[in-house]
Amino acid sequence: MRYFFLILLIIFAILIWQSVFIVDQTQQAFLLQLGKPIKKVFGPGLHFKLPFVQQVMRFEKRLLEYDAAPAEILTKDKKNLVVDNYSRWRIVDPLKFYKTVKTIQGAQARLDDIIYAQLRIELGIHSLTEVVSEKRSELMEKVTQRCNKLTAEYGIEVVDVRIKRADLPPENEKFVFERMRAEREREAKRYRSEGKEQAMKIRAAADRERAVILAKAYEEAERIKGEGDMEAIKIYAEAIRQDPEFYAFIKSLEVYQKVFDENTQLIITPQEPFMRFFFKTQKNN
């Protein structure tokens, strides 16, 4: 009796176990009835199903990542770019998803094809600078939208396709480094020559300024000296005017005194005024 009760209890428990199911907040689910999907999607919570004949299929509802391997893509201006893009996507229709790609791995393989193809197309009509800088975001937006259209049939929504990295292949990198080096060397040269030029200008200006200062000083000096000379001449003239005769006499004598030295030979005649007494005395004797 007791055993029977226990068995009944166990059977009951299994029945309950088979007729309820829990869907987590991060999941969505639908039921397969004998392998055929039933068109009803369950959100999170506790739900009921028929035991044994219905099987729960759970799928992620969260945003999922898809990170492609980097691939070389040719831009419009025939430059190679190594593009590493990633994408974020989610399953919006688990039924479609189940019918087409079945699993997340399957979805990723499909996404890989779609996104890569779209990127190639889009990048092929833009130049490298547009891809790297000018139109990067709108380009990604376009690719995202196109992918979305294509993935709708798999029950997938592509929320975002982003170029994570867009780099040059190694052989092109070398060229860039060369160019960068050349540019910097040019810049360095420019700075140095500019410095020299400026320095020369400063020096030349300084030299000129010095010359001007001195010339002005000389000019001023000459003017002052001239004033002195004028003043002196005026003074002389003023005094001499009073008796030019006498001045000439005195000045002449001064000049004689200055000019005649021990090498001078004077020839003196008796007419010389101061000799008159000399000769007179001789005659008188």
């Binding site: 907040q25 003043e231 030979q265």
Partner: protein
């Protein structure tokens, strides 16, 4: 509650003794307590297991059969026991950090870092390559969104941050990145990253994007450094020239002052001398006017005395027409006048 005692007894049981005494106990219990009672106790324990405490740095997110039903704030709370309700407690105040372009090898001190070139090297707006290492700090803004919307949050933030940084750097010329543009790049990257994460509805707030180390790639480092030293050279040349100017101009000004002073001195001397001389002349003139003949004679004789004391003279006889003498260089030939 009459059950408390039983409960206490149960929990206090030590395992070894429990096993030893199992049989005996069972008999005792069977006698004393009926099955419903045991079930009741178990039920009670099960109900108690729903008590949980949310720490100040967390919030509680309660799910009922997997479905999110409520968010609870720090403090003690109760949820219906497993498997009906479960609680998740994300740390909402914690600032999380992601390193991009480098990894911290050891925190130190001194801290050691390792570069990750494939993450740090990127194209700039003027098609140069630059190495950018940065960190992203973020925290949970909306715990519900954080828990249920995006799978693999750290990976998501890292991908988005890389994409954002490269997008911003890809619009900026290298010189700006290396010098004045850093703050702007941080801000713009932060904004863009926030926009991307909001698009994913990740429930995150980007606290900061901080550039750690921004430098030219190793292959061209030397050329970049040379530019810096070239700038220094430029300044050196200019400074030297300035120094030259600052040296010669004051000296020129000094020289100019000297020239002018000399001129003033000359003028002064000249005038004073003239005045002096004329004073002397005038005083002599005054004397002369009183007795012209005498004074003139006197002056003449005084002068002659001085002259004749110095010179060699030759006295000639009275009447001579012309005479040529082999005289020295400095000869004064005076023609005699006829009387």
């Amino acid at each position: 509650m009459p059950w408390d005692w039983e409960e206490y007894q149960q929990t206090q049981e030590k395992i070894p003794s429990f096993i030893k005494k199992w049989q005996e106990k069972c008999k005792q219990w069977k006698k004393r307590i009926k099955l419903p009672l045991i079930l009741l106790i178990l039920l009670l324990l099960w109900l108690i297991s729903g008590i949980y405490i949310v720490s100040p740095d967390e919030v509680g997110v309660v799910k009922r059969f997997g479905k999110m039903v409520r968010v609870t704030m720090p403090g003690p709370h109760y949820h219906l026991p497993y498997p009906i309700e479960t609680v998740l407690k994300p740390k909402v105040t914690k600032v999380r950090r992601i390193e991009i372009g480098f990894r911290t090898v050891s925190v130190g001190p001194p801290a050691q870092y390792r570069s990750v070139p494939e993450e740090s090297l990127m194209l700039t707006g003027d098609e140069n390559i630059v190495s950018v290492e940065f960190i992203v700090q973020y925290r949970i803004k909306d715990p519900v969104a954080y828990l249920f919307n995006v799978k693999d949050i750290p990976e998501t933030v890292k991908d988005a941050a890389e994409a954002a940084m490269r997008e911003i750097v890809g619009k900026t010329p290298i010189d700006e990145i290396l010098t004045v543009g850093k703050y702007r790049i941080q801000q713009e990257t932060k904004e863009l990253l926030q926009k991307i994460l909001d698009r994913y509805n990740a429930g995150l707030k980007v606290v900061a994007v901080q550039l750690q180390d921004v430098h030219p790639p190793k292959a061209v480092m030397h050329a970049f450094k040379d530019v810096a030293s070239a700038k220094e050279d430029m300044n050196k040349f200019i400074n030297e020239a300035e120094a030259y100017r600052n040296d010669i101009l004051p000296r020129a000004k000094g020289k100019a002052a000297q020239i002018i002073n000399e001129a003033i001195a000359y003028k002064e001397t000249k005038i004073r001398k003239a005045k002096g001389e004329m004073e002397r002349f005038l005083s002599r003139l005054k004397a002369y006017k009183q007795a012209p003949k005498v004074i003139k004679e006197q002056i003449y004789l005084e002068t002659m005395e001085k002259i004749l004391a110095k010179t060699k003279e030759i006295v000639l006889p009275e009447k001579i027409e012309k005479i040529i003498l082999p005289l020295g260089e400095k000869t004064l030939l005076k023609e005699t006048k006829e009387k």
